[in-house]
Subunit: 330 residues, 2 copies
């Protein structure tokens, strides 16, 4: 199968490795920001983030987008939420009518409604044409996916599209389940970044001995994600599966959202932590995710989200972290 991956960062390169290992003919296209990723790979050196060699994978720089898409039977979209519209707008004229598996997580403003909405909704509205969109959710850190560590991904989309993507990529350590609940899967992927930050706050505020508080917030996050997902048209099965509970677990256990939460929990202003992490080249998805999730909750009139309200108060309204956490109740 001819698989084209758009975006040569962590996750795009990891999926390219998986696809290559499954025997596919793989092209990895880098965006105009990805030259530093591709350059070492072109010399046969390891990918600078993934720290693996991309043997047997064709590498194409940004100007070769049409060539990258020509004849593709499966497309993987792996730019981040800021890149999804610029990338797919440029790709649109060359996009074959094949499934597009998107690993991008987030919510965007829909031009028509001015409300926060799912990426597939906004993309199709902007492109003015249908896309055979499949959302890849679930607890999948790219470093581990690329190394074959047991991983459970959940692909959501129309059955024929989701199944095609699953059949192309599953195997060895990669378990792939599918469903039609694209709304639930996309919302879970976006929301878990916000809630994972909430667990990190306790590491900074109390320290390691806050297991009960983190678990209480994990439980409440599932309660609130369920309310938000059902308001957005998704199902509770998705919330309690790999896309929801599973991905929240991995995001809260480690990574940048937790690190962000921990520093904010120590009392440093969220804007300052975000700026410092950005300067250090670390993207903190949880920071904007809290704002978009909170806006989504308001727009969909989901009122009972005390944990999200608390996160928003601390991170975006400058409320004192201790005061908010001490009065937190569910």
């Amino acid at each position: 199968m001819r698989v084209t991956v758009l975006g040569a960062g962590y996750m795009g390169s990891a999926i390219a490795c998986v696809a290559r290992r499954r025997g596919h003919e793989v092209r990895l296209w880098g965006t105009w920001l990805d030259d530093p990723m591709l350059e070492p790979c072109e010399r046969g050196e390891p990918h600078p983030r993934l720290r693996l060699r991309l043997d047997g994978i064709a590498l194409l720089r940004a100007p070769r987008l049409a060539e990258a898409l020509d004849g593709a039977e499966l497309i993987v979209h792996a730019a981040n939420s800021e890149g999804v519209l610029p990338v797919l707008t440029r790709a649109a004229p060359h996009l074959p009518d094949v499934p597009v598996l998107s690993v991008t997580k987030g919510l965007l403003e829909a031009p028509s409604t001015r409300r926060m909405d799912r990426i597939d909704v906004v993309v199709q509205e902007r492109l003015g044409r249908p896309v055979r969109f499949v959302h890849a959710a679930g607890p999948a850190k790219a470093m581990e996916v690329a190394r074959g560590v047991l991983t459970w991904m959940h692909f959501a989309g129309r059955p024929e599209n989701a199944t095609a993507c699953a059949q192309a990529l599953r195997g060895d350590g990669l378990i792939v389940t599918t469903s039609e609940d694209i709304a639930g899967a996309e919302l879970c992927s976006a929301l878990k970044n916000a809630y994972a930050t909430g667990l990190g706050l306790w590491d900074g505020f109390v320290g390691a001995q806050a297991h009960n508080a983190r678990a209480a917030c994990f439980t409440q996050a599932l309660v609130e994600m369920r309310a938000l997902v059902t308001a957005g048209g998704g199902t509770i099965e998705t919330v309690y599966g790999a896309a929801g509970a599973g991905d929240l677990h991995v995001t809260a256990a480690a990574g940048r959202n937790r690190a962000f939460g921990e520093r904010v929990g120590r009392g440093v202003a969220a804007a300052q932590v975000a700026a410092e992490m950005l300067a250090a080249g670390e993207l903190t998805e949880g920071y904007p995710a809290i704002a978009t999730a909170w806006r989504f909750a308001g727009e969909r009139r989901v009122r009972s989200v005390p944990l999200l309200d608390a996160l928003h108060a601390i991170v975006w309204q400058g409320d004192e972290v201790g005061a908010v956490l001490r009065r937190l109740s569910f």
Copy 2:
């Protein structure tokens, strides 16, 4: 309110502290094994495990059981699953008709059916009389409960009993929700010890970079707990709330079950790890919990529990950990 706590270990002493802080008149009775816990407290020193002074709490050694129960308006049972029948059999003649809040987690063999069953079922059968049993579930490490760290407990029992227990203990950092689903809550409490061990295996087998695998097993644990809980008469709401997902989160994040799993994951025989931990004074609830959960699954004819089967194969049948984990799929 006059509150009597039976069992002066970690959790009994922690609940006694909470009850005292709520203004109750508290008696803490130690079993015949608890003298080393009470002795320092009687001298005004901190509780040796909890490392807190039990100020204002009446301390009663094992022979004073009748006195401890006399006039009690709420009883907290905090012996472990091995102690529950010996303690409650001795207490029975003196037991007033008040709610009994039990923090004991596990399954026991019912004398009549010879099947693994819930503690409240077995206790009432053995005592030959009804007990106003309330099961305390949820992610509550005793050290943190005693120190007022935000904690979400879930009390399950007949509404009048569960509500009485919740009203007596909730407040400050302690959130208490209630439900009538005693079957679901007890089963979650017992099962999570088994499944938490499964997450720990990956720490030993792969190391820290197994977030995806741990999250996949967390997700699958919820799937299997749901099947086992509904087979036992519980509801899925309990599985996805504090009693299930919440308690699994805290148990898998830290503690002895994880430590046990980690050493087994490195290839050490489970029986040896259990024996060494026991010799070091550490109880590994996950070790017997896997056996009882697996037996429960068989007795209730729940067939599709591949993760529990894998845990049982590794821990109780001596299968090679790498071989089992590499072929694990859901």
